[in-house]
């Protein structure tokens, strides 16, 4: 994986709000096709960092490039190269499956013909032919997650940001979703994921853990466990985050 290009590069990336340093000089890279876990306690600065990388917020200082574009000057180009999915907001419940897919296709700049082709293709691939004209609100949460993830990939982004993607679903559905993540990463799209499930951190290629705005550790789950003499990522996380000064 070492010879693949970087999709995210940051150097001393910092964001202040007044006197408060939300993100404090973080430096890291994410490679093409990598599953990158971005962990931290509530209030550690994850959301602020993620908003910068999605082109929604300017940093105060430092450098960052996402999909080759600069976060200060090319944030609109970044938005076209990324996908985003969150547990909190995913799809319009009072639109049908097909309407949602076409809507997001339109937002991501696909032509009408492409929207139609892509939505047909996606509905077939997800095995949702019978549900295509049903309201999304009537579908189980696990299906909604799969549709939501797939719509975030419609425009073939270089990287997809998953913000707490799998809360509240049963263990089989969680694993089906994980299979989709593996498959997507295998196709060369990078996955940038935040989660409070520490077992989800175990399947990431690399994991960073933020404490009080800084990156306190960054490595493969195996090496982090060796370094902290821990048998799980949960234990690594607790050792690092327990002494955080900031509490949300």
């Amino acid at each position: 994986m070492t010879d693949l290009p970087n999709v995210i590069e940051t150097e001393a990336l910092t964001r202040r709000f007044g006197d408060f340093v939300a993100v404090n000089s973080i430096s890291f890279q994410v490679k093409a096709g990598e599953i990158f876990g971005f962990l931290g306690a509530n209030g550690a600065g994850k959301t602020t960092a993620m908003r910068i990388l999605c082109g929604l917020l300017s940093p105060t200082s430092g450098k960052a490039r996402v999909a080759g574009y600069d976060v200060y000057t090319e944030s609109e180009s970044i938005k076209q190269q990324i996908g985003y999915m969150s547990q909190k907001f995913s799809l319009y419940e009072n639109l049908t499956v097909r309407e949602n897919i076409r809507f997001f296709g339109g937002i991501y700049g696909l032509s009408a013909a492409e929207q139609k082709r892509k939505s047909d293709e996606l509905i077939t691939r997800l095995g949702l032919s019978h549900e295509a004209n049903k309201l999304v609100g009537s579908l189980p949460i696990g299906w909604r997650q799969k549709i939501s993830f797939s719509t975030a990939l419609l425009h073939q982004p270089k990287i997809v940001f998953l913000d707490e993607p799998t809360g509240g679903v049963d263990p089989i559905t969680r694993r089906q979703f994980r299979d989709m993540i593996y498959e997507t990463a295998h196709s060369g799209i990078s996955i940038f994921v935040t989660t409070h499930y520490m077992d989800e951190a175990e399947y990431c290629d690399r994991v960073s853990i933020m404490v009080d705005g800084a990156i306190a550790a960054l490595d493969t789950p195996d090496r982090l466990k060796q370094q902290f003499v821990a048998n799980s990522m949960d234990s690594v996380f607790l050792q690092l985050a327990r002494h955080a000064r900031r509490n949300e």
Binding site: I141, G168, D170, P171, R175, A241
Partner: protein
């Protein structure tokens, strides 16, 4: 007398079209820390709302410390403390005003029961004049627990208190529950996090309104019927595809850093499976027996349904 007794409860919504609870029965003993483990839509919140007398069952009965949830609802409301899944305190009252309000409603004072909330309250006391609506998630959770405890309930019902909370705060919260249990309070807590089952005396695994099993964690794991293997290699995606296609594979799911694999003929298939993976040239292959986790057991019970 059990602290809680639920007998064959059926509850539907939408004129019978949605079956929320399907003949659910279980007991919780006094002083027990009992976990309801299940995903969104399993029926956990419906159960809490029945036990707190806020909903009526279609059929079946439930008792809390011997009081019937329909007939004796007034007695039950005095002895249970309830922390709903959604933050339900007054957002435009401060921390201390919320707490005083709940104490007054139950005809008591903060001073009288301060010993019960002290460990938790000291953590939010520096912000006691801040409006509840302006608190962080972790602080709201602590305030809600204080308000649920201020009338010295015998039974504490906590609906997904740790959802969306980071692992450090989750651990602290469960430590608090241990201390409350040590005071003799019966606690029923629901959670979608399977690993939290390990903190409970007994658990009920719930899926789509039905109880899949009720037991101690050890009891549930002891009943797990299959031989499981933990498998990993350098390329986990290819490993998963290869195992899913393999003729002797029974189930194969990603579990943390490993795949958990069960085989159609159990141990008898293991040597051939390992040879098959070697023939597929997986680098750094690791193949070893592994004990099931509570999630393996949950998946097995879901598939058996």
């Amino acid at each position: 007398m059990p602290a809680i007794s639920v007998n064959n409860i059926i509850k539907t919504y939408d004129k019978g079209n949605i079956l929320a609870l399907d003949k659910v029965s279980f007991d919780v003993q006094q002083g027990e820390l009992f976990g309801l483990i299940g995903a969104d839509g399993a029926g956990k919140t419906t159960l809490f709302r029945l036990l707190t007398t806020l909903l009526l069952p279609d059929s079946g009965t439930a008792q809390v410390l011997g009081f019937d949830t329909v007939k004796d609802f007034w007695a039950i409301r005095k002895i249970v403390g309830y922390m709903p899944g959604k933050f339900a305190l007054y957002q435009d009252l401060s921390i201390i005003e919320n707490l005083e309000f709940f104490a007054t409603v139950f005809n008591t004072t903060i001073a009288q029961n301060y010993h019960l909330i002290e460990d938790i309250y000291v953590q939010i006391a520096p912000f006691k004049d801040r409006l509840a609506g302006k608190l962080s998630g972790g602080m709201k959770q602590k305030l809600a627990l204080c308000c649920a405890l201020i009338h010295e309930p015998k039974v504490l019902l906590l609906d997904e208190p740790t959802t969306g909370v980071d692992p450090v705060s989750r651990k602290e919260f469960w430590d608090m529950l241990d201390r409350l249990r040590a005071r003799g309070i019966t606690i029923v807590v629901s959670t979608p996090y399977m690993d939290e089952a390990l903190r409970c005396d007994r658990i009920a695994l719930i899926q789509k309104g039905r109880i899949l099993d009720i037991d101690t964690v050890e009891g549930i794991l002891a009943k797990y019927p299959k031989r499981l293997y933990a498998v990993r290699s350098e390329n986990m995606f290819r490993l998963l595809s290869d195992l899913r296609q393999y003729s002797q594979t029974d189930t194969c799911f990603a579990f943390g850093e490993y795949l958990h694999l069960s085989l159609k003929n159990g141990e008898a298939d293991a040597p051939a499976t390992e040879a098959y993976l070697q023939s597929r040239q997986h680098a750094q292959l690791s193949f070893k027996p592994v004990a099931p986790t509570i999630e393996d057991a949950f998946i097995e019970l879901m598939q058996a349904q």
